[in-house]
Symmetry: C3
Subunit: 214 residues, 3 copies
């Protein structure tokens, strides 16, 4: 099954990004494994808990949990050579983002939800693993700053719906959404595209600048 292969690539890639984040914070091995698991499986868990879709994926298939732990340990071993693999890594991560989005969207559809809820489920599955990772590492979530990360997840959901609506089969829809979203993400990374930012300064700014003067 195509989706399963994508899912396994996605959780492996996400587990590795989690492990690297933990390494940047000099965590011990347990922290690395935990953050890898949260990054890889957290998005799906958040979706399932919010939709009441029990049992969670990793409770039903504990082998994914074991896979994630192995990916974390492999990351610890090969971290030195990681920089040379940076671009491969970004591609896997992009594949993972779109794969997670499609899976999340499809699960909500299978539960009988409409467009809005399945769009939220897709985007949540795609991005909330990374958000949880950044919260545990005490960062402002990167997702809100990186090039079009979450927005591509959202556009992929719309494309997916469009394909389904036109009457394409599930396989064709999945593959074309994957190709579409993946290309979009690559274009965004290559050209450094970003969403417009909303910058709001309130009165704190004045007091901050007056502090600088004093």
């Amino acid at each position: 099954m195509l989706l399963l292969v994508i899912y396994i690539i996605a959780i492996t890639a996400e587990a590795m990004t989690g492990a690297l984040s933990a390494g940047r914070r000099s965590m011990d091995w347990f922290g690395v494994v935990l953050i890898a698991c949260v990054t890889a499986l957290g998005g799906g868990s958040v979706r399932d808990v919010l939709l009441g879709h029990y049992p969670l994926t990793w409770v039903k298939h504990p082998e994914y949990l074991v896979l994630t732990c192995c990916a974390a340990f492999v990351t610890i071993l090969i971290a030195k050579w990681m920089k040379h693999l940076h671009s491969i890594f970004l591609l896997l991560d992009a594949l993972g983002l779109i794969g997670f989005t499609i899976i999340g969207c499809q699960i909500a559809l299978d539960m009988g939800h409409g467009f809005v809820v399945s769009a939220v489920a897709g985007v949540l599955t795609g991005v909330s693993g990374g958000i949880l990772r950044d919260i545990l590492c005490n960062d402002v979530p990167l997702v809100f700053r990186r090039e079009l990360y979450a927005s591509i997840s959202f556009v992929a959901v719309i494309f997916y719906w469009f394909c389904m609506d036109v009457g394409l089969s599930l396989e064709v829809t999945v593959i074309s959404t994957l190709v579409f979203g993946f290309s979009l993400r690559c274009i965004a990374i290559y050209f450094g595209l970003e969403m417009p930012k909303f910058i709001y300064k309130d009165d704190d700014e004045q007091s901050a600048s007056s502090k600088d003067e004093s």
Copy 2:
């Protein structure tokens, strides 16, 4: 229905506080929308997940989710004029806090829970949206520092129970709790009332001061 009107005002006001927080951190539009949704709908979601009250409000009524997104975009547009609306905003937020508290408390009562659990449900609904917002923006939650914010939510729950116990009808109870809690919050803001703080310094302080000397 009165509670529905209050609920809609509450989620709109909370979505706007969320959007402004995201703007202070210079997030992109997606981040602004996500944080607005989490702030407005997160409190209810936390309550529903903890009590096992499925489906969640926004899954059942996706229109609230759409409303929250719209409120976030409106906030981006009108942010420049926001400072002049500051006091209106605080009042709406106060209304939202009490409204959320009443709704959370009532849902727990409808599920057959007793005083302690419904008090927790009320306070959680009122404050945890703001807590999640501050976690995502990587702040120490404001709720624990602002003037009597969470405590007013708790006092409103006690007042609500008292009214029910005395035998008042649901409408009268809701309106009087609303008026009572709202006035209390206004008084707290006006006089800058705060709860006593618990300040604990352990041995870290000594090592910190010795660092300053060196």
Copy 3:
């Protein structure tokens, strides 16, 4: 019942660590109580939500919630003398860690889950209260840095399984796991044992050092 006594000691000890953390951040009384509750009951709640094990412990037995609140207030009162009780406190915390682990593991087993899921449930129950506490206080979770904290929880789960597998009765298994895990934790604290850390520096380091030079 032995497990109940351990559970009550555990939530009291964890509530106190939570209250002290809140005090270090100068939170108001409400914040102290909330963080005490999250630290003491959050681990079990996370486990129950992820496994779909409703109702949660504190919803079924609100008296534990009341106990936690009382422990928080007592901590505020006796904080001045807390430093002299530091070693007793560490012992109670160690007892709590192992107690939570055993309870979490046993609940997952009662629900019919296998080794991997019950191990995760045990470790989650043991450590995620502390993780939530540190997130709310805006720290990088201590669990990933302290001496063998989470790893001891994991080793205790393996020991527990081993005892069950050998065919020991529940009582004997619980007591021997408790003694085993508790001793292990004491040894770890006494000798300051730590897990190997995974330290990963990427290109940010170079730019950081170049900033220092300029």
